[in-house]
């Protein structure tokens, strides 16, 4: 993944895959129907993927599992959670959490 050409090939393929996911249902779905069971499965995918990424990003700190108040990302997540849940605002959540981490690093 180091050379420029392989990088270009990577982002083009990533873009193509992403574009297909965004374009195909919008252009085709008005004419066809997807199986009910698959719709049900897809319904849970966003929450499941986001949660997996969140847990991995927060509980693994400094390359290992850290479930303690010495993990600034965990502390920030706990405090930012009600903000995220109430406001549903990415901007407010990210900034509040970053502020908490900044404060944490300043104090400890």
């Amino acid at each position: 993944m180091r050379t420029s050409l392989s990088y270009l090939y990577l982002v083009l393929t990533m873009g193509f895959v992403t574009y297909l996911l965004r374009m195909l249902p919008a252009t085709l779905l008005s004419k066809k129907k997807i199986p009910k069971l698959f719709v049900k499965f897809l319904k849970f995918i966003p929450a499941a993927v986001l949660s997996a990424l969140l847990f991995q990003g927060v509980f693994i700190y400094g390359g290992r599992l850290n479930i303690s108040f010495y993990n600034p990302l965990l502390v920030a997540s706990i405090i930012a959670f009600p903000i995220a849940y109430k406001t549903k605002n990415m901007f407010a959540t990210v900034l509040a959490g970053m502020g908490i981490v900044m404060l944490f690093n300043y104090i400890i």
Partner: protein
């Protein structure tokens, strides 16, 4: 030929779309900047960072891809992860399809490129209020798109000037984004249950298998469990 009334609606829709993009732009600035900084720390140039934003335009997928590039993941693993991380776009696209009915097919090919979590969330809300022309979607989507590209490139170019991004809390930008997006998904107890299963599995699987497959496997297993506990039609 377009009538004067049509032209005036399209112009109004364009301005409305651009206005509705403002909160998305504010959201993309810190996250895009953090993405650029992360990309720069991984060794990507501002040009390479911008290239990814131009072609992929998907925040979480770009973060994950950069993380995988750093850990020398294989090409195919990055593509499959991108596919799975962006799988939710199928749902967004499908939900928007009925609102695109009056829009020309060739314009739908263009508009659908710009569907993200945020642009979807705003546009589905607006579209449910009343019919909107393609101008609205182009105004909203392209404004958000440009702000993402710009903030990631600026982050990659000037991130190195900031000595310690960790002290400034930048390492929370990604989890914070996931946290906010996840909260938008927690519609009822079943979604909360599926999320907890997936989150716990993603951690456990790190210790059970090598590579970056923990997120993919955790999400698929949790979503299948979701199908079994879901009694809605």
């Amino acid at each position: 030929m377009k009538t004067v009334m049509q032209q005036s609606k399209e112009k109004n829709d364009l301005i409305f779309g651009i206005k509705r993009a403002i909160p998305i732009v504010f959201g993309y600035i810190p996250v895009g900047f953090a993405m650029g900084v992360t990309a720069s720390n991984t060794g990507l140039t501002p040009f390479e960072t911008g290239l990814m934003s131009v072609f992929v335009y998907a925040g979480s997928a770009q973060f994950v891809a950069i993380d995988m590039i750093r850990s020398n993941a294989s090409f195919i693993a990055i593509i499959i992860t991108t596919f799975l991380v962006n799988l939710r776009h199928l749902l967004f696209s499908a939900s928007l399809a009925p609102h695109f009915q009056h829009i020309k097919q060739k314009l739908i090919f263009i508009i659908s490129f710009f569907i993200t979590d945020e642009s979807f969330a705003v546009s589905i809300t607006d579209a449910e209020q009343g019919s909107l022309s393609h101008s609205y979607y182009l105004g909203l989507y392209i404004t958000a798109y440009l702000s993402w590209i710009l903030s990631t490139v600026i982050g990659a170019a000037f991130g190195n000037l900031i000595p310690d991004t960790k002290a400034l809390g930048f390492d929370f930008a990604l989890p914070g984004m996931f946290l906010a997006l996840l909260c938008m998904q927690l519609k009822n107890i079943k979604f909360i249950f599926v999320s907890l299963i997936s989150g716990l599995l993603s951690i456990i699987l790190i210790y059970l298998m090598p590579g970056n497959w923990n997120v993919i496997l955790a999400a698929v297993i949790a979503a299948v469990i979701g199908v079994f506990i879901d009694d809605e039609d």
